[in-house]
Subunit: 566 residues, 2 copies
């Protein structure tokens, strides 16, 4: 669409602004239909963002969007409308705020709960610089479950600075919001403004206002701006997720994130099916998630076993320690989580699960390059941050059938375990799975061996293999399956001189390094393919994988070269 | 001391219990004077723990101690009094609760904020097993700053189970407790029981009671036990940190942790001095800590620059994001933190600091083996979990002088930076420090080169070097200094065949693996010394380093062997 002049929002009449809201809503809907992205959260925040641009002076004033999945209107209003059709495409606009993309994006986000802490830091820097701009944090009610928000609120009074917090309350995170904090917000709404809770933190509470009604919003923001002179303010704006798009309004969970790709077989569906079957047989099996029941495939499990299913909200750390407690009490918890969000639990995986050798299984979904969501959502670190943790076993199945088999066997393995898998794959077939054992998929012994970790790498390796066979080059192709413990027996038995490792993960600290260390002094040469030491931006997964290090061409070229070397 | 029979606490008269409290207090004081350990927190919790053992039936009932630094009385009352003199010694009792040590320790702790989540998990497992034991979480007021506690409280009502939370409120964490949550607790104490805050979370509030008075405590716990039949209960016990030991009462911060070692030169003192000097010259410099101002050397900085010093409480994640916000606002934040606690910020280091390339410097104290606190406090993972993060530079100074130089230069490096250092070291001297450059310390080129990371490794390498020189073996010894970015130019210029790496860190994902990866295909052989894939228990640091992988003997033997190989 045409670029929107910054002055346009300032000078428009109210009715013109309302028309603008409709235009933007259509543009968002149209673009997300093509490019994918976050639909319902963005549709719900259109008026709120217009009102912010009307009342405040960006980029002089600063706004931090928590999670950032509601920033499309902000992008459209800050000189990026003409580029909006490139949303989430390689080289195009990011689906999240990005400092390097625009001076209007003062702080990048992607994970939940950071906005108040970041806004406090920016505000404190402003104070020290003796500047006077206004700093705003826009936070969804879902993030009010996250501990980081409370750490920030708790330190707010001690920091003695001034920020405006906009609580964008649509009663949902990805799933409906639950728990004590949610009830508090519901209570506040019912009483039309209980000032007390926030007063304890030294914050003046304003609202609630209808966050989809510009007539209410603009004066409320003007009042908030006034009140900011004397201290921190929270404006409680009640919005409707998905507003303006009937299906999105009635099914906000289904339209939280829209994928532009045709549906393929999802690992999450298999997780749900197998976990139900296992839970049927073993009463110790329980499931834990952090506000993502559906996208992790657990809807049926939650329905069938409500007493054994725990959705704790956007609280990855609590989910991990709760699972540890459940395991300490004799249960067999399965905690399903996206790779990028599991990072939040790094300390708890070490301190609570692995140190105590508690049999918790992490089902690490969206592992590897995830594509259009970009840098904050790539799952390319887990093999590294998990491999370094003692007592943890790490598995990457070769296909969905093997994933099922591993889930079935995991109940009896009595060890902390992480199973990492991409979003989609093929059902395939699999034989027996023995703990800690590699599997030779094809080939005969020569000078070269490929050790491939996980379905995506095996798929690439298979293509390389087929091509090599046609060229008369022969080697063994191995399904690594257990990234940890490594199959030391197999490694010791290998006669090959050249070992090629493939992993859908950064090379630093990853599978290839483990193999190289295990083979140090053996005289074998290890060549590792994986991602470099850089953040991988948004784009199509397959393109990114190729571009950033898992290119069939390059792997084949290396095989050819090693073959020629002999 | 003699073992205390479990029945003793059950059957004693109140006056006998009071005498027991004095006996235990003396035993704790005597033992900590010899073995080191947490003094004031344990002295403050003597009566509370006796009362718990009087009213509840352990190990059938379960108690989770948050942080665990107040568990000595519990150990003394649960069959471990006779072993108490072995506290924190290798092979002896741990200073923290440990599942493998006793069935009375149902859940291990060490880091703050986990107890309520873990207790909820254990309670939920109990419910599912249709058992009826009581589950208790003992949590200090300092932990009520930590976000994990709020995540647990928030999910408590949804979990619909019953636990008893004992709020052990001494108004301090390691430093005096600050912030909104603290003010709420103070308010509650003043009003003698404001039920509302906790009622919102579905918890019945009891108290406050004097947590050092058995006459008040025992009936209060009995009441809590009754109330537990109908739901979750929080008993607010106000205790006095360090009670019974006058110096500890008047100086609870100084006696929070007692070290059995004679004072040596501390890196933290140098941090404080340099940071003050830098801040004097550069108004952008600010300091951030998470409740550990003194032990990190920042007391003077906080006094001299109160506007530029931020102690956020036990909130490592918030501290990191606040630092990111400050940097986004143009400041140069220095966040000082122990290696083991920095783990909590893993996601934020990636998502907020490094992805945005914000110039935040992490001053990572207590890196490497830390000794008597044991598994939960060893700083042996940071090189691994930091090395895998793009855009982050990582430095390990060879001595305190070099640490000072690096701090001075860091202001102009404009990059996310982590400086990791052990608690103590030698002042020494240092020349110029260039970004990303190794330094040859001594020796001439031969077949062997040692790359040593950080003061402790360099000290060992120096001993190995001296011994080798006496035996006529010659090699180069390099101060790695920059673990990241690696000095690729130097690595490429090395003519040596054998490369020996030393790091005070686990080998998995550490410095040695980075070097091996950088040298892959070069034909050089890399031999790495560091820690194995295991949790390192408590003991004397120097013994542990030797035992777990940094033994001068073994390194020398390897050098001899490589020399003989030629």
């Amino acid at each position: 669409m045409r670029n929107i002049d910054v002055g346009e929002v300032k000078n428009a009449s109210l009715s013109q602004l309302k028309m603008l809201a409709e235009t933007l809503r259509e543009e968002i809907f149209r673009t997300v239909s093509v490019c994918g992205g976050h639909l319902s959260s963005n549709l719900g925040a259109v008026e709120l963002t217009i009102a912010l641009h009307r009342v405040f002076d960006f980029p002089r004033d600063k706004v931090v969007f928590d999670v950032g999945h509601q920033c499309y209107t902000h992008k459209l209003l800050s000189g990026r409308a003409r580029l909006f059709h490139t949303l989430r495409k390689e080289g195009g606009l990011s689906g999240f705020p990005k400092r390097e993309e625009s001076e209007y994006d003062c702080y990048g986000t992607g994970h939940a709960g950071t906005a108040i802490s970041a806004a406090l830091g920016i505000a404190k820097a402003r104070d020290l610089h003796k500047e006077t701009c206004i700093v705003i944090a826009v936070v969804g009610d879902g993030s009010f479950q996250n501990g980081l928000i409370y750490e920030a609120l708790n330190s707010l009074s001690a920091l003695s600075t001034r920020i405006l917090i906009i609580l964008n309350d649509n009663g949902m995170s990805i799933a409906p919001t639950q728990g004590g904090a949610h009830e508090v917000l519901e209570e506040i709404k019912a009483q039309k403004g209980d000032l007390e809770l926030f007063a304890r933190y030294g914050i003046r509470y304003l609202g609630p206002v209808n966050g989809n009604d510009l007539d209410e919003l603009i004066p409320a923001l003007q009042e908030a701006k006034e009140e900011l002179r004397s201290g921190c303010v929270l404006l409680h704006a009640v919005t409707r997720k998905g507003l303006g798009y009937p299906f999105s309004e009635s099914a906000p969970m289904e339209t939280h994130g829209i994928s532009p790709h045709p549906a393929a077989r999802e690992y999450s569906a298999a997780l749900g099916e197998e976990l139900c079957a296992i839970a049927e047989r073993d009463s110790r099996v329980v499931a834990v998630t952090a506000a993502m029941t559906d996208s992790l495939g657990l809807r049926t499990f939650f329905k069938k076993f409500p007493d054994r299913a725990f959705d704790v909200g956007i609280c990855e750390e609590h989910a991990t320690v709760l699972a540890a407690g459940l395991a300490a009490g004799g249960m067999r918890p399965y905690y399903a989580v996206y790779s990028t969000f599991l990072q939040r639990s790094f300390d708890e995986i070490i301190h609570d699960i692995c140190l105590q050798k508690l049999p918790v299984t992490f089902c690490v979904d969206r592992a590897g390059v995830t594509g259009e969501d970009g840098e904050t959502h790539q799952g390319v670190f887990d093999l590294s941050y998990l491999s370094m943790i003692p007592n943890l076993a790490i598995v990457a199945p070769k296909n969905i059938a093997e994933f099922r088999k591993i889930l079935q066997k995991s109940v009896s393995w009595e060890t902390p375990l992480a199973i990492r898998y991409p979003r989609t794959g093929e059902e395939g077939a699999c034989g027996e799975v023995d703990f800690g054992k590699f599997e030779v998929l094809q080939g005969t012994m020569s000078d070269i061996i490929i050790l491939a970790a996980g379905e995506r790498c095996i798929r690439i390796a298979n293509s390389v293999y087929a091509r090599a066979v046609r060229a008369g080059i022969c080697f063994r192709l191995v399904n690594v399956r257990f990234i940890k413990p490594l199959d030391i027996g197999f490694l010791a038995s290998m006669r090959e001189k050249y070992v090629v490792t493939l992993e859908d993960n950064v090379l630093a600290g990853g599978f290839g390094e483990s193999v190289a260390r295990a083979l140090a002094g053996s005289g074998k040469q290890v060549y590792s393919f994986g991602y470099p030491d850089a953040f991988i931006p948004h784009g199509a997964s397959s393109d990114l994988m190729k571009k950033y290090g898992l290119s069939e061409e390059e792997i084949y070229a290396r095989i050819e070269e090693l073959y020629a070397r002999g």
